[in-house]
Symmetry: D2
Subunit: 297 residues, 4 copies
């Protein structure tokens, strides 16, 4: 059986790594917070490592899930990073949502040492990570992905092979771009309806009975109407992802005018202290300006 490694045991990474352990794999763990690694290690055939490098030395396949491009670059290519411990043939998969060009850089740095790299961002939030039902969008060499697929299958259910290095991230960022804009479409529509005197529940029924019905609105609207802005996916992370989508537009040459404005509304939400709340809390920016609340009557 292959030896696995996992780095980054946050909200997503912890349950993802646990699913690898549950599937019976031997997993070398590393986390910025060593305690988390020790705690998880107690649950299965795991060893705790002191550095990413040590994880790479101990593993044939390494998965990781960290917060942003800089952290990804650090665990992959920094001091005591994976690159120092990986051998030709080692497969490394970054499940974080980072900038595609950072992923390409990492891919190229690994390639020089014969290490294989996949960008493999995922969706499904915490419940998907816990239930092993994530969706992965994968960029890199397809044959490499097929070798790693059995281990991905312990963590997810749907897999899209999207193309060469960075293409998994390109797909993920487009998905989040569309989601952020649908959120803002909902925000504008619901604040307008409410201020115009329509009960929010009724307006929601109208939307859900139309072509505007969407997974996002069905999922988020009840939270908004209940004024429950606890986080499934925070404003600050969504804001970060839109920023990377805009950078992507710049890189490939596509203007994104509506996304740019949505991004500034999300910035306004962050400026108003909503960064840690769920991104459906962005509706508060318009509510506050308009003097109205979209809540259950």
């Amino acid at each position: 059986m292959a030896k696995l490694g996992f780095l980054g045991l946050g909200i997503m990474g912890y349950p993802m790594a646990r699913n690898l352990l549950k599937a019976g794999h031997e997993v070398a763990l590393w986390s910025h917070t060593a305690e988390k690694a020790r705690s998880l290690a107690a649950e299965g055939k795991a060893t705790v490592c002191g550095t990413p490098k040590q994880v790479a030395e101990a593993s044939d396949f390494v998965f990781y899930c960290v917060g942003d491009s800089a952290m990804s670059r650090q665990v992959a290519l920094g001091q005591d990073g994976l690159i120092e411990g990986a051998r030709p043939g080692t497969i490394v998969a970054d499940c974080s949502t980072i900038a595609p060009d950072t992923a390409v850089d990492i891919h190229e740095a690994f390639k020089k040492k014969g290490v294989e790299f996949l960008d493999a961002p995922c969706t499904g939030s915490k419940p998907g990570a816990e239930g092993g039902t994530l969706t992965f969008m994968v960029g890199g060499d397809q044959a490499v992905f097929e070798k790693a697929r059995p281990y991905f299958e312990a963590m997810g259910k749907v897999f899209f092979y999207c193309g060469g290095p960075g293409m998994g991230l390109n797909a993920k960022l487009v998905q989040n771009l569309v989601l952020a804009n649908i959120m803002q479409a909902f925000n504008e529509g619901m604040v307008l309806a409410t201020k115009a005197g329509i009960r929010p529940e009724l307006m929601l029924d109208v939307l859900n009975n139309s072509a505007a019905k969407s997974g996002l609105i069905s999922f988020k609207a009840p939270y908004v109407l209940d004024r429950n802005f606890g986080t499934n996916f925070s404003t600050k992370w969504m804001y970060k992802d839109i920023g990377m989508a805009l950078d992507n537009g710049k890189r490939v040459g596509v203007p994104l005018p509506v996304t740019a404005v949505t991004s500034q509304i999300f910035q306004a939400a962050v400026s108003r202290g909503l960064g840690e709340d769920d991104f459906c809390s962005t509706i508060k920016v318009l509510e506050e300006i308009s003097g109205v609340e979209v809540k259950k009557s």
Copy 2:
């Protein structure tokens, strides 16, 4: 059995009026294009009138479906308009999508003569009008709506009573605001994905497997990928409706920043000659600037 009237036999009005006839009702017809009225009259218990006024004289319930606020005001309150023929107790329902404040004006003008008025815009496009499966959003007096409901039921399947005068229109405009913005979200995402090198079919699969899945995208995306921009709902009408939604934001005091930008992209589409095409053709604005086409490979 009540005597009905119907004015405006366009793409929507013609099949709506035909469904009233099919249901066995006696219908007085008037159309700007008299030929249409004569053609339809041949299909059932219909009479052709020379003016809206004559329709009102002959009817207990009058429905109409015209192009914009000015036309609605004209058939209702203009010379030889409904108001000249209607009696106290006549019920008039405007199924057009017009400005809510125009509807309120018409409502008030009718009220002075004891005539009841409902704003009752609908969705479902041509297929919904033909199949009698439209959704109606109704503003006005609820008891009045209940009296008219049996006749609405020959034309639609779902009914939302939204509140007093203009509230049906408020709901309808919010719905179209959300739809237009989802369309533009799709446009930006798909052009970005395609230029970044992702096959459009794949990107669509990714979206449809996520919370971004929505009725609008499922319906429109195949047309876009097939480069089939024949009209279900034209860019110019959607652009008109967004404009009224923005006017509504002005009236009630809600800023709509993303909708405002979507509106300008739709304006760009109209300027580029796409006004008569389906509103999914708005994607061509970004495609042309970006030098890429979102089409099936």
Copy 3:
């Protein structure tokens, strides 16, 4: 000497009419608030009329200055309006800022009776109106304008003949579009600078020493830094004018994406209760969201 008329004695109209009186002209006056007309009449060779119609009957040249398109249409074409009293050859000049297509409508209605009409919006604010130093942008027949010019010269110093009916207004709306956007450019720049830690006075010096130096910024910045938002030109009027500029873009087929967003920021300002303040108060929208004030240290 020609007999003049003047309608609408508001902030602009009052001093404009007074300048006609001061120049020794005989002026028939009408104001919605009769008191204003009586008060002004005491200052010169003026008579007070009970209706616009009476002013037209008494005058060879009629000037007026009212609040919006609806009011302009009312005094020109409404009951007891100018059209009822004007004779072939009478020259009517509307100095209000209204929609160009309303001006074209009025022009055409007058033309049928042989009455000449000019759209002649002006700039220069209250001080310009008082000092007789306004700038006029004139649309209509050039020969007609030349006949009226001597009377305009009692009210203004600079005259731009812009073309046929509505063209004076087209020019005026473009001017205000540019001004509103420069205001918002200033707002965004100054809030960013201040939050980044640059003293507002210093940032202003930098701007004023660069190509960004402009009449608007030089005029408005001291008010902002002194937190003095008393009105020279109110947010609500500027917001109205941007709205007409956007409608103009729709009419002639030009997308105006930045103007559309500026318009929504101004809407936000109006929603926050800043409609009656000077339009430089729009900076408060960003200040409030960003938690910073652009004020003298």
Copy 4:
């Protein structure tokens, strides 16, 4: 007399370094293109160096002017960079327009070695660089700036000391943010006026006679009307600077909605191949969509 160094002999750097030579200073030169250094060295008391490090070894004061944040970091902190040759007390001034946080990084890296650093971006374009009339916005220690001022005075005429590390850049980016938005305000206004039928020269006269008169419009408008888009400051550089201003908004927490849209119009211009043209060529984006040209009649 102090020994000076200058790195980066591009459109701006070459005439700036030449002005140091003309003032009689001894200057150590380095350029990515060695030929430029040799050519300039022939004009005065200059030596040509093989690396930034060698320049630092030979100089008490080092100035440089390069293209972007990455290049600045490279010449300052990279292999054979200034940091390897500088001694405690050496003063290094970066005259490039780069990201403020990059400048802060460089400042901190130098500080550890006792080297003083100033961020000192400038404006005035090529003519300002050639004539020695640039304006500098300076961040860093004020006493350090005063020591370097005599040499700056050979290159510029106006100096704004803006505060600690990065503050010169913050001021510069705000200035360019305001300029870019004024450019787009002009673009939207002039395309609207022209399509509405006003001669561009006339519209320009109207603007120049109003509070919209600004240095930028006075400077750029004649080029636009003459359809002369040769570069004074290219679209791609302005686009880069707006991007850094937006990043700055993100860093300090200020939403910049209008700037965000202007940025996307500039992106559209770059996508349409206007990156190397002067940034007044951005007007072509709207012109092309609207089917009209703002040119002298």
